[in-house]
């Protein structure tokens, strides 16, 4: 009797445990199902490489190259901020900060991570954009540059916390060996510890990129919104996430525009999925290399 109850409970937990897998598969299914109809109207190549996105004119044009390039520009721009700041902070926390400083500084990073994206967007719109516009004499404040700065700040905590984890996996003996042959702390850090944690740090950067490219509200408010191929850092752009969020409300259900927006979401999903899998594979090899099994 008791045994049967135990088994039943175990089965219930097993079934519930699969919920995240079910949701993930559900998301993939929904994206494919709602995205595929657009490819009966336009070839995938014309969709991906088409240079004009005029979904509401007649005849409509569904070329998402400007949106993809916009996402790439702001994400690459964000990397220039989040890689030095994130990795630098992780090294500072791991190498230089004493236990007292760490207990104060780690929450700063965690709190920076918990600021809602709408607040980042609002801050970018009302404070940062006018500030950058005045400082650099820009024609408009809502552009690639402003977006990159904000996205960079948003991705920094992701990079910092994962990079710090990676640094903590480096065995003590590496450091001691380096000191023993006469290296100072900086040499040990740059020649021994960073290379040893290298693939862990690259995982951190990949996940930071994934965070930046999927960010929605911030780019919707700060990127400027114009769906043209960017030529400079000071052009307003419309990244993929912003296009979906801004246009979904107006696209009639089942229309070509509606399906095209799902197709953009599908591409976005595949990009972040690839990033996450790459990060997973790299970090697993990294841990095995340093002799940790988990």
């Amino acid at each position: 009797m008791n045994k049967r109850k135990e088994r039943a409970i175990k089965y219930i937990f097993t079934a519930l445990a699969f919920s995240s897998l079910v949701f993930l598969v559900g998301i993939v299914f929904v994206l494919f199902k709602e995205a595929l109809p657009i490819f009966t109207k336009i070839s995938p190549k014309a969709f991906l490489l088409g240079k004009s996105w005029y979904p509401t004119s007649s005849p409509p044009e569904f070329g998402i190259l400007p949106l993809i390039l916009a996402s790439l520009w702001v994400t690459l721009g964000a990397l220039f901020i989040c890689v030095p700041l994130g990795v630098g902070s992780a090294l500072y926390l791991h190498e230089l900060a004493g236990p007292r400083q760490r207990t104060l500084l780690k929450p700063v990073i965690e709190i920076l991570a918990s600021v809602p994206s709408i607040v980042y967007g609002f801050f970018g719109m009302v404070i940062l954009a006018p500030f950058l516009q005045n400082t650099f004499n820009l024609p408009i404040g809502l552009c690639v540059l402003t977006t990159s700065v904000i996205l960079g700040v948003m991705a920094t905590p992701t990079v910092a916390s994962i990079a710090e984890d990676a640094l903590s996996y480096v065995p003590r003996s590496f450091r001691e060996a380096s000191f023993a042959v006469g290296a100072d702390r900086w040499q040990t850090l740059t020649k021994v510890i960073i290379p040893a944690a290298g693939s862990g740090i690259s995982t951190a950067i990949i996940l930071g990129m994934s965070r930046a490219i999927g960010e929605t509200m911030t780019v919707l408010m700060v990127a400027g919104g114009s769906a043209v191929i960017p030529h400079s850092l000071f052009d307003p752009v419309r990244p993929m996430t912003a296009a979906i969020a801004a246009e979904m409300g107006e696209a009639p259900v089942g229309s070509d525009h509606y399906h095209a927006l799902f197709a953009i979401a599908l591409i976005l999903f595949l990009i972040t999925f690839a990033f996450n899998i790459a990060a997973e594979l790299i970090s697993r090899r990294f841990r095995l290399k340093l002799g940790h099994s988990r």
């Binding site: 109850k5 409970i9 175990k10 937990f13 097993t14 519930l16 445990a17 699969f18 919920s19 995240s20 897998l21 949701f23 993930l24 998301i27 929904v30 994206l31 700041l85 630098g88 500072y92 900060a97 500084l105 929450p107 700063v108 965690e110 709190i111 918990s114 600021v115 809602p116 994206s117 709408i118 607040v119 980042y120 967007g121 609002f122 801050f123 009302v126 700040v153 900086w186 040499q187 850090l189 740059t190 965070r211 490219i213 999927g214 960010e215 929605t216 509200m217 919707l220 408010m221 996430t241 969020a245 979904m248 927006l261 799902f262 976005l268 999903f269 972040t272 990033f275 899998i277 997973e280």
Partner: protein, 284 residues
């Protein structure tokens, strides 16, 4: 001074500058929003509905809406997330199942928030016919909160020493009795941290509720789980992008942002403090 000493000094200063930049950014976000938002906040702002085409009045319906959405998301995600964490730490028999689940949890955590919104729109709003409603929004936000709750609960459960489990089993308790009476109570503070963290995350999300729950304006308060709601984050977005009185609206948006920021940051701070205490207990 040797050359390598100078290099070391410069390098360490650069690292310090990186860390300091984080503090500067966090400080300036909090400072500017608090400095300009504080004047909008009053008792009336917290308790009244918007008036005069969004140019006056308060944000009470948005506060209430955010509360309902967050509560609904936690009610949905907590049992699922906890069950998943219990399965992964206490039961999980074979390596590949654990791996598959871990990968899917990690990937779910990495899905862009707007994609959750599209999923919610297709499945909850349309397919199940819940419409644009608190229910659809809560379910969508719940899926988004799931990975947060799972990983925090997992950490809490793993921190429970194996010896306690063995002691319980040795006394003749079954595995379920051990989990329910021994492991879960011991892990409770950690699980609570996960719930609090997910509240902070969910309360600030906007993109998932854009098409599933949120509305710019409604008369009065939601009557049932099937009515649409105002929500604080969406309210900020709408104030900045719709309407025809940008100046007054920006003032209200500052107040709403300050409110949201204060809410989310204090919630995360509580979680961070609980966790710090918890880790100290186990390390001691």
């Amino acid at each position: 001074m040797k050359r390598s000493d100078i290099v070391q000094k410069l390098g360490f200063s650069a690292l310090f500058a990186c860390m300091a930049a984080n503090i500067v950014f966090l400080g300036s976000i909090i400072f500017f929003i608090a400095a300009r938002g504080l004047s909008s906040i009053s008792w009336a702002f917290l308790t009244e509905a918007p008036r005069d085409a969004m140019t006056a009045g308060g944000v009470a319906p948005a506060i209430v809406g955010t509360f309902y959405l967050t509560l609904g998301a936690v009610i949905f995600a907590l049992p699922l997330g906890l069950a998943c964490a219990v399965y992964l730490t206490e039961y999980s028999p074979k390596g590949w199942i654990v791996n598959l689940l871990r990968i899917s949890i990690n990937n779910l955590a990495g899905v862009p928030s707007v994609v959750f919104g599209l999923f919610g729109l297709t499945v909850f709003v349309k397919y199940f016919g819940f419409g644009v409603s608190i229910l659809s929004g809560s379910l969508t936000l719940g899926i988004l909160a799931l990975p947060v709750i799972i990983s925090a609960s997992q950490e809490a459960l793993t921190a429970v020493p194996q010896s306690i489990r063995e002691a319980s089993l040795a006394l003749g308790a079954t595995q379920w009795e051990t989990i329910r009476r021994v492991v879960l109570p011991a892990a409770l503070p950690g699980i609570l941290t996960g719930v609090i963290l997910s509240v902070g995350r969910v309360a600030g999300e906007t993109a998932p509720i854009l098409f599933t729950a949120a509305t710019f304006y409604m008369k009065g308060y939601p009557r049932s789980v099937f009515s649409e709601v105002m929500a604080l984050p969406y309210h900020i977005y709408a104030l900045m992008t719709e309407g025809s009185h940008p100046e007054q609206q920006t003032r209200i948006a500052y107040g709403s942002s300050l409110l949201l920021l204060a809410l989310v940051l204090s919630v995360s701070l509580v979680a961070i403090l609980i966790r710090a205490r918890q880790r100290k207990t186990y390390n001691a």
